[in-house]
Symmetry: C2
């Protein structure tokens, strides 16, 4: 059976980080659910791209746990994810259950807001470092950081590597490696 990933989309999400992750995971055979934090309505992303989620976060959560819960960045989107109690509940369930929790760019600030992965090695968009450095072992110089079941990454330009790491963790090297050539990535 395919592994299942939940991507939570909030207004102001970074659309490249969201779409690169969704698309690459689906190419890797992962069953991805794109869930709208504010329901099923169209989500206006950080650069005004409008994406329609597959379902609402409430409905998506009815089939938790997933094999991975993934937060795209974008400053406003990340702050909204950090303020939502349901996001905190879902992240805690998955962190405790040993499933993957993952965040890119500004989204690790939502981990901090919800007390997720405290003390672990993480990275983020560089300008978020000062908000994270007291609560985590902050790594500056790696584009993707995996510490146990916690995966973090830095920004739009690292989104392919973030997604490939998740495919590899969920479906193995044999699922991830062919995507490098298929998508013409220069890593």
């Amino acid at each position: 059976m395919s592994k299942r990933a939940l991507i939570i989309l909030a207004e102001g999400a970074e659309e490249m980080e969201a779409v690169i992750t969704i698309d690459t995971l689906r190419r890797g055979g992962i069953d991805v659910t794109v869930a709208g934090l504010a329901g099923k309505a169209t989500v206006k992303c950080s650069r005004m791209v409008s994406i329609v989620p597959d379902t609402s976060l409430e409905e998506a959560h009815a089939t938790s746990p997933y094999d991975a819960v993934i937060l795209p960045g974008g400053l406003k989107g990340s702050e909204l994810l950090g303020e939502a109690p349901l996001v905190g509940e879902i992240l805690k369930q998955h962190e405790n259950g040993g499933q993957i929790v993952a965040a890119i760019c500004a989204a690790p600030i939502a981990f901090k807001s919800h007390g997720i992965a405290l003390g672990k090695q993480i990275t983020s968009y560089p300008s978020m470092k000062e908000r994270l450095v007291d609560n985590y072992k902050y790594i500056d110089d790696e584009r993707v950081v995996v510490d146990g079941n916690v995966t973090t990454s830095q920004g739009p330009g690292t989104a392919f590597e973030f997604a490939l790491s998740l495919v590899k963790q969920l479906a193995g090297k044999e699922a991830a490696e062919p995507l490098v050539n298929q998508m013409l990535l220069k890593l």
Copy 2:
């Protein structure tokens, strides 16, 4: 005044190529219009991401010419672009007017269908080469090819470079270069 770019979105478009281009151009200060080939309805992309265009292609064309007309790839999306008379009309108007026409991945086959850029240097997704090699000077080993007002590129993994080339052509090096660090690109 900002330069204006038109991106035409058809069902089956490659969502990463579309979104990376839209987002990067907007970060570069370009005024981007995302136009739906089939009207204003939500567009189901190649990996099932649903994007709502800003407007229909008919309405967008009312304010032609743009400074650039851009076709994202995705096989089905590219074939639909190749079959649409209005896309051919818009491409011819812009090719003849000296504005930029650009296509990535499978989308150069839509150039061929409409008789655009014939004889020029182009590239594409590698598997499309045989459909293009008789009508173009086909370049295998460059990730982005610029020949006069025609820009082409190869696939999802070259989409950032494609978008940066367009920002540079439209708004100059001083607009494009800061984006490399801002987006954390490794080129």
